[in-house]
Symmetry: C2
Subunit: 271 residues, 2 copies
């Protein structure tokens, strides 16, 4: 990692930032591809986000940002333009600065998650999927699962009204699909996804009762630290395939680099 005066500096907006794993993965990939860019953590409290984002427009070494909890919805609202599902879903996890200064937001969580699943041999096409959570990352995953041809999708959320709002929005984009609100019960599903933060803290409740998980189903996480959550441990004991949260991240590093830098990604380090 040889940072010089021309290096593209990406910032990772988060609060808090201590748990981030993206900088390691992103920077290793830049070295591998020879891209002259670096990703650094950028811890910002929600009430300061708008001011920090405005100043990042003026920081010319910064061509784009990665956005995570709790900023994804706020950043989407602050972007000048949203592309892809971000525009319907009102969340963004990546931002590109265009030459005219405009901020263009996209959400790559969903395509990163589905890409990771497919890379691991778990094509979601035709599956019966249970998604726990209806917040930022769940919104993107739900959209990408429908785009990838999932057979049916049930969304469970502590606040059912929020799940219903998500279902309504998804049905606007995918009319006639089998999407509904349901309980956090894995019985009858062969793809179970935790899209909440449950599992980050040892005292967290399990997002779904393990006794409802069938052997041979796929249980996937969005939680990245710890890599093996209590849910994955329990799913493994039940004979399910487990799919760690990190795959959602690794699946979107290349799409992010290409989205922000385009042709500039091919320019090698000059130092």
């Amino acid at each position: 990692m040889d940072i010089n005066g021309r290096t593209h500096v990406f910032v990772h907006l988060a609060y808090p930032s201590a748990h981030l794993r993206t900088p390691q993965l992103f920077n290793a990939r830049c070295i591998e591809r020879g891209v002259d860019a670096v990703l650094v953590p950028w811890q910002v409290q929600p009430e300061n986000l708008a001011q920090v984002l405005d100043a990042l427009r003026l920081s010319e070494s910064v061509p784009g940002m990665i956005v995570t909890i709790p900023h994804k919805e706020a950043v989407a609202a602050l972007c000048d333009r949203l592309e892809g599902p971000a525009s319907e879903l009102g969340v963004a996890n990546v931002v590109r600065k265009d030459p005219d200064g405009a901020l263009v937001g996209r959400i790559l969580d969903g395509e990163g998650f589905v890409g990771g699943l497919m890379h691991a041999g778990h094509d979601p096409r035709g599956r019966k999927a249970l998604l726990i959570g209806a917040g930022g990352v769940s919104i993107a995953i739900a959209d990408a699962l429908l785009g990838a041809g999932v057979g049916e999708l049930s969304i469970a959320n502590r606040t059912p009204e929020r799940a219903q709002r998500l279902v309504d929005r998804l049905l606007e984009r995918y009319p006639g699909h089998a999407v509904r609100v349901g309980p956090a019960d894995a019985s009858g599903f062969d793809l179970i996804i935790n899209g909440t933060a449950l599992g980050m803290n040892p005292s967290d409740a399990l997002p779904v009762a393990p006794r409802t998980i069938a052997a041979g189903s796929v249980v996937a996480e969005v939680v990245m630290a710890p890599a093996m959550t209590p849910l994955l441990d329990a799913a493994s004991e039940r004979g399910a395939f487990i799919h760690e949260g990190v795959h959602m991240l690794t699946g979107q590093i290349d799409p992010f680099i290409d989205f922000v830098l385009g042709d500039r990604a091919a320019q090698r380090r000059t130092a």
Copy 2:
């Protein structure tokens, strides 16, 4: 260089930033010392500096900044507090964010420059010094030379009034010292310092006429790119000792890390 979510992110404020050499030197030194910090370029136009600096106060991953051309005087004016010569001289090249959010500015160019000279065996004590330039970096160097006991100091500047203002300020801090405004002529001097940007561009005039440089004198640069400026080339041909601009930088990396991080510099990377 293993950047994680807890890594301290230092930004290097500059315009333009492409020529910066500090990130390479700083980051190599952090790895050597095991300090969990990274320095990234941060190109900002002068008219946007105040807004960017305000947002850096709110960017919690950033404990401090390095400041270079053309921002050193503007940053000093925007700091909440200046320490050391910075307070008298009105320039800052490093900034620390205190826990209460205050920005504390210092100038380390002078002590870096003198430390570099002494490390190379050229103690300025008692020497007859000619300094070309009366801007930001020259102000700090002049102050540090007087602090290190230089015998006499003559300051040459394209605008003599600016040199006179610097001489007046220096005499307030060092009353009775042999400091004066003079021509850009090295005759009679045994320490000649280019404190201007002349030499960065191939078409630049020489800051001082080489025929006035005596064999055995020390000719020092603040220009870092190219490492061998036309002035150093000419001085070398005249039999002078040459001292490259980079030494001013390497001499202040450790003082900067300790100024900003204090005890936190001893905390090892955790990733």
